[in-house]
């Protein structure tokens, strides 16, 4: 059973040395409970760490050098690309080639010349959009199986699968987070307004929501995709404006329940404004279902992007995306690495998010025991 200590957190005040009890809000207690659920908590840490790493992709997985030291001057091509600076041409570094410098060759060239110039490449020196057919060890027709330099092999255009998966991970997670935040904002706002005001606002509002929900998502996306060639942001926006309806139902229901409670009446009796009652009093008490649902919404968004890319209505080539890789796996089913690795990456990522979702759900569950005696 819960002890009184479960509600408070002891911390020793360094000045007085005395123990002071700190009160924990409901959310803080849920957060502690979430942290105590190992599988979900470690999945959460793993996913956050992977995503943080993937944000550094241009410095970790790139064909452009991190640092080039040429005739005593230092250049930072990878960083320059990242912040949107200019690209360096080959001749600027004394390389005999047209167009942009090829840094892996440049490194070899400097080594042979031995004039004190050097190149520092990223740990995995291949770009996801780079055609590697001229690389040593990649003779013949793509796709190539996994090998020491190309961990997961290449795809059917001779591009490195590992690099594409890593960049695709960043795209997937970013897309999911952006989409979910956008449609949560819309859904929560609409649901709160309908639930709080009720009456005619609710009756007419609900009908409009239903009409909106009846617009077929896939056709709209196909049309938009053909007209506009969407990027990540536009695609996230389109998915968001078609996904908020479910969240608005949750919020509407919660608001209907919460506004009938005495604390809402008490807040009105204190003379507070409608906005304050809606967003400061009722909203924080209505979040349980939508927060519990959030990880599963992320799963949904990742899957949606993969499906759209798989069908070819998603992100434009040559953006590294998982759906496109899965599609390659389908078309080259005899090349096991093209089938296995993208699907495994997708599976592991979704599984991590689901573990987080399970833990969140359990942390929000008011019942300590999950079954009756």
């Amino acid at each position: 059973m819960a002890t009184p200590a479960a509600d408070t957190k002891s911390s020793v005040d360094p000045a007085t040395g005395s123990t002071r009890e700190k009160s924990l809000s409901v959310m803080q207690r849920r957060w502690r409970k979430f942290k105590s659920l190992r599988r979900g908590w470690y999945s959460f840490i793993a996913l956050i760490a992977l995503y943080a790493l993937s944000l550094l992709n241009p410095l970790l997985i790139n064909s452009r050098a991190l640092v080039v030291s040429y005739q005593g001057d230092l250049y930072f091509p990878a960083a320059a690309e990242w912040v949107g600076g200019r690209l360096y041409e080959a001749k600027e570094f004394g390389q005999r080639a047209i167009g942009e410098a090829e840094y892996r060759r440049l490194a070899e060239q400097y080594e042979e010349a031995d004039e004190g110039d050097w190149v520092l490449m990223p740990p995995y020196p291949f770009h996801p959009n780079e055609n590697l057919l001229r690389e040593p060890g990649l003779a013949g027709n793509p796709p190539h199986p996994p090998q020491a330099r190309h961990w997961l092999g290449t795809d059917d255009r001779g591009r490195d699968v590992f690099a594409r998966l890593a960049y695709g991970f960043r795209v997937s997670i970013t897309f999911a987070l952006v989409t979910v935040s956008m449609y949560y904002l819309i859904g929560m706002f609409v649901g709160s307004v309908l639930g709080f005001f009720g009456g005619r606002v609710d009756i007419f509002g609900q009908r409009l929501v239903e009409i909106w929900a009846a617009i077929p998502f896939l056709y709209t996306v196909i049309i938009i995709s053909n007209l506009l060639k969407p990027g990540v942001w536009l695609l996230a926006f389109v998915l968001a404006i078609f996904s908020w309806v479910g969240i608005s139902f949750y919020m509407r229901g919660e608001f209907y329940r919460e506004k009938a409670k005495d604390y809402a009446a008490a807040a009105i009796a204190q003379g507070e404004s409608r906005r304050s009652i809606m967003f400061r009093h009722i909203l924080p008490n209505s979040l349980t279902p939508v927060i519990t649902f959030a990880p599963f919404a992320v799963v949904g968004s990742i899957t949606a992007l993969v499906s759209l890319d798989f069908l070819g209505f998603g992100l434009q080539a040559p953006t590294a995306s998982w759906g496109e890789l899965v599609n390659q796996g389908k078309q080259n089913i005899e090349h096991w690495h093209l089938v296995t690795f993208p699907l495994a990456a997708l599976f592991v990522t979704l599984q991590l998010v689901v573990f987080i979702g399970e833990a969140v759900r359990e942390a929000f569950d008011p019942k300590v025991f999950s079954r009756l005696r």
Partner: protein, 327 residues
């Protein structure tokens, strides 16, 4: 009804629309709250006493509820005609409310300190530190030990009685002219009911002309705490009188029945007296006198005509044909 009235209610009608039917929870109620008095409103469940109180500060959920007509005059203005923002300035500051259920009337996500300081910051131009000081003082006044530390605790760390004290502190923090208490002790243990009632009356210590409207179904509570009492039945006032007079010489058969049904320690072994029958459904009130279906002394005309509320002796009003001879 004359005197220095603080709040005057005239011909108040509050209806609830349920499907095609209309429940007349309050139909034509008029009364006044004088300065520095404790007014009790007593009645059975469904007599519309809570709805009356909620109507005073427009807390009726609309829909399904609606204040169909009437006036609630406070400070020369009709509260029922003000805009939401204007009523907001009166709510909490001039008229405050204590709710029945202490377990649900504090917001579970706010610390006690935040809930207490909120009305102060909303109604007055003061700093957070000053508001906090006043909140601590208010908690101290309602007898919560170590108030400064408890300001940083959440409602779930308080017991029911303690929460009701916090509610009282919250209602009293702006020194309101009128404190409406809707069955403040119903959900509490009998042992702390008396303490809570006493605390509530402290509002009059802080502000001399302050009044309390106490809504209850417990005549004993009325007898102990109130100056004047209104007896409600079937959405209407049946009798209104100073408490001492009401208890000694009740005139309405319903009041007599209520008083007779209070158990006495000396009558051990006897069956408890009860008023026969049930409260009529709010959708199907009797045509004439609302109490005619249960009245022991019912006359023929009671079923078809409704008596007027008359002042039979100074300050003592009653709605009953039997009392017309007294006039």
């Amino acid at each position: 009804m004359a005197g220095d009235a603080l709040l005057t209610v005239r011909n108040l009608h509050t209806h609830f629309h349920v499907g095609d039917t209309v429940a007349r929870a309050v139909s034509g109620v008029s009364f006044e709250v004088r300065k520095n008095e404790v007014l009790g409103i007593v009645g059975e469940s469904g007599s519309g006493k809570s709805v009356t109180a909620l109507s005073l500060i427009r807390l009726i959920p609309d829909p399904p509820g609606r204040i169909a007509q009437g006036e609630v005059l406070f400070g020369g203005r009709d509260i029922l005609k003000l805009s939401y923002e204007e009523v907001g300035k009166i709510r909490g500051r001039d008229i405050a409310m204590i709710f029945q259920e202490p377990m649900t009337s504090l917001n579970p996500v706010f610390k006690i300190g935040k809930q207490l300081t909120e009305p102060l910051l909303f109604h007055y131009d003061i700093t957070r530190a000053e508001a906090r000081e006043r909140a601590a003082a208010a908690l101290d006044l309602v007898g919560i030990p170590d108030p400064r530390r408890r300001l940083d605790e959440y409602p779930h760390q308080f017991s029911g009685g303690m929460r009701q004290r916090v509610m009282i502190a919250m209602a009293m923090i702006c020194d309101p002219a009128i404190l409406i208490a809707d069955e403040p002790t119903t959900a509490l243990d009998v042992t702390i009911q008396a303490q809570i009632l006493e605390l509530m009356l402290k509002v009059q210590e802080k502000r001399e002309d302050a009044s309390v409207i106490l809504i209850t179904h417990d005549l004993a509570v009325i007898a102990e705490t109130c100056d004047r009492a209104i007896v409600r039945y079937g959405g209407k006032i049946q009798e209104a009188a100073p408490v001492a007079e009401l208890c000694e010489t009740p005139l309405h058969p319903y009041t007599k029945g209520l008083l007779a049904s209070i158990p006495h320690a000396q009558e051990k072994g006897h069956r408890l007296n009860a008023i026969a029958g049930n409260v009529p459904s709010i959708f199907d009130l009797p045509l004439g006198c609302k109490f005619s279906t249960r009245c022991k002394d019912v006359l023929d005309r009671c079923h078809t005509e409704e008596p007027e509320l008359r002042e039979v002796t100074p300050g003592h009003w009653v709605r009953c044909f039997l009392m017309e001879d007294l006039v």
